[in-house]
Symmetry: C2
Subunit: 82 residues, 2 copies
Amino acid sequence: MRYQATILIELKEGILDPQGRAVEGVLKGLGHEVEAVRVGKVLEVVFPASGEAEAREKAQAMARLLANPVMETWTLEALKPL
Amino acid sequence: MRYQATILIELKEGILDPQGRAVEGVLKGLGHEVEAVRVGKVLEVVFPASGEAEAREKAQAMARLLANPVMETWTLEALKPL
């Protein structure tokens, strides 16, 4: 079976996010009231696995490799069979 | 009230994604079987709104500004009151 995992990688609280600040400035300049913007990455990974438990384990192992543990946190946002 | 919107911005199908290909190569090099990887952006936006309906409308308006309609699609992944 094939699974698709959606992994979110975001900067930890307290880490400066210049890209988020830039987006915040743009939205404000266009007339939107915003208090904060944080920008992160989303990865959609398609991979084979024999079942949901194995798929979850593989997705978590890949997320751990892709996030920088010093500055980033990761979340397995979704996991679905294809 | 304040709301937090999670907006995903991803490249449309058919648009080449060199960053995704690079991540795919890295995962394969580390011994993971993967078929495809697509990389996009996730934005967490905090903004004031009087209720859920207004918050949803504002979040969608901002997402429309932030995604490039030629190459990207956006999804309002989550909307929660803070």
